[in-house]
């Protein structure tokens, strides 16, 4: 398994939208490399015959009836907003489109 280089940490931090200072990047790269090496041991026993478990308790088909509930008021919805205008959340300019 590959080790985690400083460049790789920088790439992943970008993917996770976290600005890091050069010092943080140095420190995290070292720490994460050790952690990744340690946790990578899981692959020793994760053989193809073992099924994956994503939920602790097996359940299926948990559905909600299609019945409306009281929504938040606009005031409640915007209560935590760093900025708002005309009942909408104001966010900085968006570059590119999804």
């Amino acid at each position: 398994m590959s080790s985690l280089s400083r460049d790789e940490v920088a790439r992943v931090a970008g993917l996770a939208r976290i600005d890091l200072t050069p010092e943080e990047l140095d420190r995290l790269a070292g720490e994460l490399d050790v952690i990744v090496e340690s946790v990578a041991r899981v692959s020793e026993v994760a053989t193809p015959d073992v099924p994956a478990t994503s939920h602790p308790l097996p359940m299926t088909n948990v559905f909600r009836p299609d019945v409306p509930e009281q929504p938040l008021t606009q005031e409640q919805a915007l209560s935590g907003a760093p900025a708002s205008e005309d009942g909408k959340f104001l966010v900085p300019q968006i570059l590119g489109e999804e």
């Binding site: 996770a16 041991r41 692959s43 994760a46 073992v50 994503s54 602790p56 308790l57 935590g80």
Partner: protein, 507 residues
């Protein structure tokens, strides 16, 4: 000690009896705890926010309803503290993070709705490691909580605030959350009781998610019976949580009362071979052996069981948790709520504001885990990391299934050591992670676990005893836990917390 502050020394069950008998009012009980908070908070710092006015209003309302002859919940009027990871309408909720500083949620978590409906005054929100990432509460953005047994030591984590509040008599009851041991490990190092219920036993709706498939809320108390009372209040099905168990809870209070008789005849207790030995403090192991003897004396059959894949649990946990957390914490981006930080130079775009906000708003441990999780899920690594970890989860579930064929409950020390000094492990994340080695398997498998105090180690600090039961058999924890508690307290001549040093009380 004034008459009122005496009220802080009672268990929740005792307070409930006194309230029902109208010996005391909820306002008196609540005020006594607020006074205690005011007196010891400068030393302990268990709370991030104290909601005195709201608590007293609830207390007065409960007193009035009781006076009017209304039928009330048994815990009505008994005050409670809530971990700051639980969303509370009208009360600031930060999850210990700068990124949520000042956020006041417009809604209540399901468990908070139930607490409010039952009439428990909420004293305030307790300190924690940021987003529940940590084992010492040192990763809180708002300062350390101190262990009431030794103020230079950690109170455990992530729920150090709730455990310390209960241990320091700042609340008779508290809510914790446990993703890898965050209820049980603080319980162990503060000499209190903490229960991580079966996954799905208590609704997760309104818990600020760390790792969705591991998180569970549960009670933090000083006695096993109090935990049972609180667990019954907050637990049970909730349609807002799709992973909530649809069937009703087993009788937890009844199990605790049955256990308190001290008879465990016919109960098979399995000692997990892999959760002792190397890395465990001698005093921790000694208290564990003594507790086993007490259980044996009560009629339990002690067997040894093996869970060979537990050694991979820590690795699986530190892949699953960061992966899920990296996604759960993506919403903290400065767009809709919480902190917004603009980049110091260059264009102010949404993308750059998100990165600047998250860079400034998250602490080291959170950044570490988000980056680790993002990496583990990113293209090309999923199968080796996240996929493998999910397979280990299957193996650990199988280990539990095998072990529970041989035993009704499993037991181990809760944590390998007693409380370490503040700052001691802060620079070594891996050493910090090892604190949870005995508690993590239960989260991976979804089974319930309890920690209760079972003595003092050689350093005079409390030690915890962990009981694990099969999924949906939380009642077994209460039966065995209450039995051991009764036997230990008989030997000690009272609760372990009575041996804790009295805190210096301010004005």
């Amino acid at each position: 000690m004034s008459a009122q502050s005496d009220l802080t020394r009672y268990s929740a069950a005792e307070l409930a009896d006194k309230l029902a008998a109208r010996e005391v009012t909820s306002v008196e009980v609540t005020q006594a705890h607020l006074d205690r908070i005011a007196a010891v908070e400068p030393a302990v710092h268990a709370y991030l926010h104290v909601s005195a006015a709201e608590a007293l209003a609830t207390a007065a309302d409960v007193d009035a309803r009781r006076a009017a002859g209304e039928e009330l919940h048994p815990l009505a009027g008994v005050p409670i503290a809530v971990k700051d990871v639980v969303v509370t309408q009208g009360l600031p909720t930060t999850a210990g993070s700068k990124i949520l500083e000042g956020w006041v949620p417009p809604y209540d978590a399901t468990l908070v709705e139930r607490i409010k409906a039952a009439g428990l005054p909420i004293l305030g929100k307790t300190n924690m490691d940021e987003f529940a990432m940590g084992s010492s509460t040192e990763h809180s953005a708002y300062g350390n909580t101190h262990n009431p047994w030794d103020l230079d030591r950690i109170p455990g984590g992530s729920g150090g605030g709730s455990a310390a509040a209960v241990a320091a008599y700042e609340a008779p009851l508290a809510i914790g959350t446990d993703t890898g041991g965050s209820i049980r490990q603080p319980g162990a190092v503060t000499g209190t009781v903490g229960v991580k219920p079966t996954y799905g036993s208590v609704s997760r709706y309104g818990l600020i998610a760390l790792a969705s498939s591991l998180d569970q809320a549960g009670p933090v108390t000083r006695t096993v019976l109090d935990s049972a009372l609180l667990h019954e209040l907050i637990g049970g099905h909730d349609p807002r949580d799709s992973t909530s168990i649809p069937e009703p809870l087993p009788g937890l209070v009844a199990a605790a009362r049955q256990g308190a008789t001290g008879d465990l005849t016919g109960v098979r207790v399995g000692v997990v071979r892999e959760l002792q030995g190397e890395g465990y403090q001698p005093g921790v192991l000694a208290r564990f052996e003594e507790s086993l003897e007490l259980l044996r004396g009560a009629g339990a059959e002690i067997v040894e069981v093996s869970c060979p894949h537990f050694e991979y649990a820590l690795g699986a946990y530190y892949l699953i948790l960061p992966s899920e957390a990296s996604s759960n914490l993506a919403k903290f981006d400065g767009m809709r709520f919480g902190l917004r930080v603009e980049p110091t130079e260059g264009p102010v775009t949404a993308e750059r504001v998100m990165s600047a906000t998250r860079g400034a708003g998250f602490g080291d441990e959170v950044k570490r885990r988000i980056i680790l999780g993002t990496y583990a899920l990113s293209a090309g690594y999923y199968d080796a990391y996240y996929g493998s970890a999910q397979k280990v989860r299957t193996l650990i579930q199988r280990d539990f299934a095998n072990a529970f064929e041989q035993a009704d409950v499993l037991v181990s020390p809760t944590a390998p050591t007693t409380a370490f000094k503040l700052g001691e492990k802060l620079d070594d994340p891996l050493a910090m992670y090892l604190n949870d080695v005995a508690t993590i398997p239960a989260n991976l498998a979804g089974v319930p676990g309890m920690s209760l105090p079972n003595g003092l180690s050689d350093d005079g600090l409390p030690v915890g005893f962990q009981v694990l039961a099969p999924a949906k058999a939380d009642d077994r924890l209460y039966r065995v836990g209450a039995a051991l508690e009764a036997l230990l307290e008989k030997n000690w001549g009272g609760p372990l917390l009575a041996k804790a040093p009295e805190l210096e009380v301010g004005e």
